[in-house]
């Protein structure tokens, strides 16, 4: 992905170019090296290195007691991670695919999310749940979904999603350092896309959103893989003389509204994009909040560009379902028509 304008270009010698999967691997490696209470656990993450190879080589480096190949049971993975956290560990669980998170849903939402509250603050639960999510990979059912809204709706959890290798490298380390449970949504269609990683410093704090392309006519906002689609749309719009300001949400819970509102007060128009179905979604929440807080700045209603409210379709039809740059530009035209 091409970052422009406001993004600071690192100048140190610690700049490296790598795909997101490798950046995550390097981030996990750094976290394992920094704190021996950090454990990785999940299905096929050890010997195989995970089905996406995000944990490749880590078991060899840190041993079977730090990188655990678990039985094939998501509730078991999350539930035992909770017990390990009570013991003082900082477990990082890998859920193999987005659609396989639901067998662990009770342990995540009724236990992990609520346990700090139930313990009246006497016990922290620093558990990270890594979830490769989203479409664009041509896979079978349950392998291309975007379930983040379920978790963003649940108090006690934090939810984030990086869009670049640089953010992936730093955000996974920051998520592991968090004393609260963090749902870490990895846009798996971006796993193999290379980008610059500044190994010396993160860009912004874990829960900050930020402008990744400066523009003046319409603000477009997304998280994860959709950010790249927005940047593509911005390039196309520029050819037509329309200037899009692109905001990378980065954090879904909590949502950092300050940069969003600042941008909307400048452009007067907002489009929120996401792969997930639009009804009762992260985009719905942002649209409602921006309408409440920036009503007099808006020149047009906040528009959502989302997946349709249908099951994620068979792979041959994913292109129909997933918002692309053209659907973003169609919404831009509608916003500008007001």
């Amino acid at each position: 992905m091409t970052e422009t304008s406001t993004v600071q270009t690192p100048t140190t010698s610690e700049l490296a170019t790598m795909p997101m999967a490798k950046a995550l691997n390097a981030g996990l490696d750094a976290a394992l090296a920094a704190d021996d209470r950090v454990l990785l656990m999940g299905e096929d993450i050890g010997t195989l290195g995970g089905v996406f190879r995000v944990t490749e080589g880590l078991q060899k480096t840190y041993g079977e007691n730090r990188v655990l190949d678990t039985p094939l049971a998501e509730s078991g993975i999350v539930g035992s991670a909770i017990g390990l956290a009570m013991r003082g560990y900082r477990p990082v669980c890998e859920i193999q695919f987005d659609g396989f998170i639901f067998p662990g849903f009770d342990q995540i939402t009724s236990q992990l999310a609520k346990l700090t509250n139930r313990h009246e603050g006497n016990q922290a639960f620093p558990v990270v749940i890594r979830v490769p999510y989203g479409g664009h990979i041509g896979a079978v059912e349950h392998h291309q979904e975007s379930p983040e809204a379920y978790f963003a709706h649940t108090a006690g959890l934090r939810s984030v999603s990086p869009s670049t290798p640089h953010d992936a490298y730093w955000m996974i380390q920051e998520a592991i350092a968090s004393n609260d449970p963090v749902m870490f949504f990895e846009p798996k269609s971006r796993y193999w896309q290379k980008g610059a990683v500044d190994l010396s410093a993160p860009s912004v704090p874990l829960h900050a959103s930020r402008v990744v392309r400066v523009g003046s006519d319409v603000t477009v906002l997304a998280h994860g893989a959709m950010v790249a689609v927005l940047l593509q749309a911005a390039e196309l719009a520029a050819e037509e003389g329309i200037s899009l300001e692109v905001v990378d949400l980065r954090s879904i819970s909590p949502i950092d509204y300050a940069p969003i509102l600042e941008s909307v007060r400048k452009t007067g128009r907002l489009i929120v994009a996401q792969e997930a179905p639009g009804s009762v979604s992260v985009g719905s929440e942002i649209a409602a909040t921006v309408a409440e807080r920036a009503f007099y700045s808006l020149e047009a209603p906040v528009l959502r560009v989302s997946g349709f409210d249908v099951p994620f379709p068979p792979a041959k039809l994913e292109g129909v379902y997933l918002p692309d740059a053209d659907r973003i530009l169609e919404a831009v035209d509608r916003a500008l028509a007001y």
């Binding site: 539930g79 909770i82 009570m86 013991r87 342990q107 236990q111 509250n117 968090s178």
Partner: protein
Amino acid sequence: MTDPTENTTPTPVQFIAPDGSFAPNAGADEYRDIAESIDDAMLQRMFHDMTLVRAFDVEAGNLQRQGQLALWVPSHGQEAAQVGSAFATRAQDHVFPSYREHAVGFVRGIDLMNVIRLLRGVTHGGWDPKDPRNGNFHLYTLVIGSQALHATGYAMGIALDGASGTGDLEADQAAIVYFGDGATSQGDVSEAFVFAASYQTPQVFFLQNNHWAISVPVTRQSRTPLFHRGTGFGIPSVQIDGNDVLASYAVTAKNLDDARSGAGPRLIEALTYRIGAHTTSDDPTKYRTDDELASWVARDPIARFQTYLRARGADDAFFADVAAEAKDYAADTRRRTLALESPPAELIFENVYTDEHPLTAEQFDWLERYEESLEGGDAR
């Protein structure tokens, strides 16, 4: 359908027969040394704790009926299973209860007023498991069976820390998790068995089969004796008479020490009975017979133990002292319950997160301003 509690081979481990006589059966052989090592002072402490918690439990049920508690979950009838197993834990062990283990918590040292606070609706938790005074007794878990995985993860941590299997029984740690017959149908309990067996965790699964999951009999949960489940997962398992405090103590002590020594997880199925209702919202007369209830009342764990203690020489004065103390404890529970204050409104925003979270902070600020506006003006 066959009754899984009847189809038991070998016979459940038993030391004290329902009539109070000391009559160890064949299954008790390997635990006999442990049972006979308990001195009279400890036996009397066990009786004391069983009696006090029953008095507490009855009084708490009364308090609920009088509107002082949102709900009560009776432990009545399960005191031998709970007190025996709790006495068998060592100080360094970690205990993961379901939500009916009042007697276990009492033995481990928590103030049972914390359970009252939970069921009065003052808190979702009630005590700090990390506070040394609370005996590593973890919080109640209301989603059936979820705590089995927490205990298993905790026990994985014990093993990873090298805090088990060193050969020092006084230092090696183990976890024990309590759950019921209904919970055995939950996936989480099976997943806990899988993880425990796979990682050979130092832990004991303590299953109190009280024969009823609200209105559903154990025959609906299982066609086989429940302790056979453990064997299928590769977990050595044993069934005991859960109304015999000696059996509960001796078998739990042996199995916890095996587990802490590195031999892997163990499962104990304690056959007992929920004399009371599932909760105060329940009406057991709708689903179980008077005859069945009477047959279990005849096997009451406290009455049986009392007969046994008398035969060992405990005198009227001892029993009178315990009865008086139990009566005082119940009265004290009532007095302290009535004195409980409601929590402050801001409690709902506290400890949702450990680190700062802007959304809860904003909503807390809003609530404060809203309440000030009501107090400050003529808004209402």
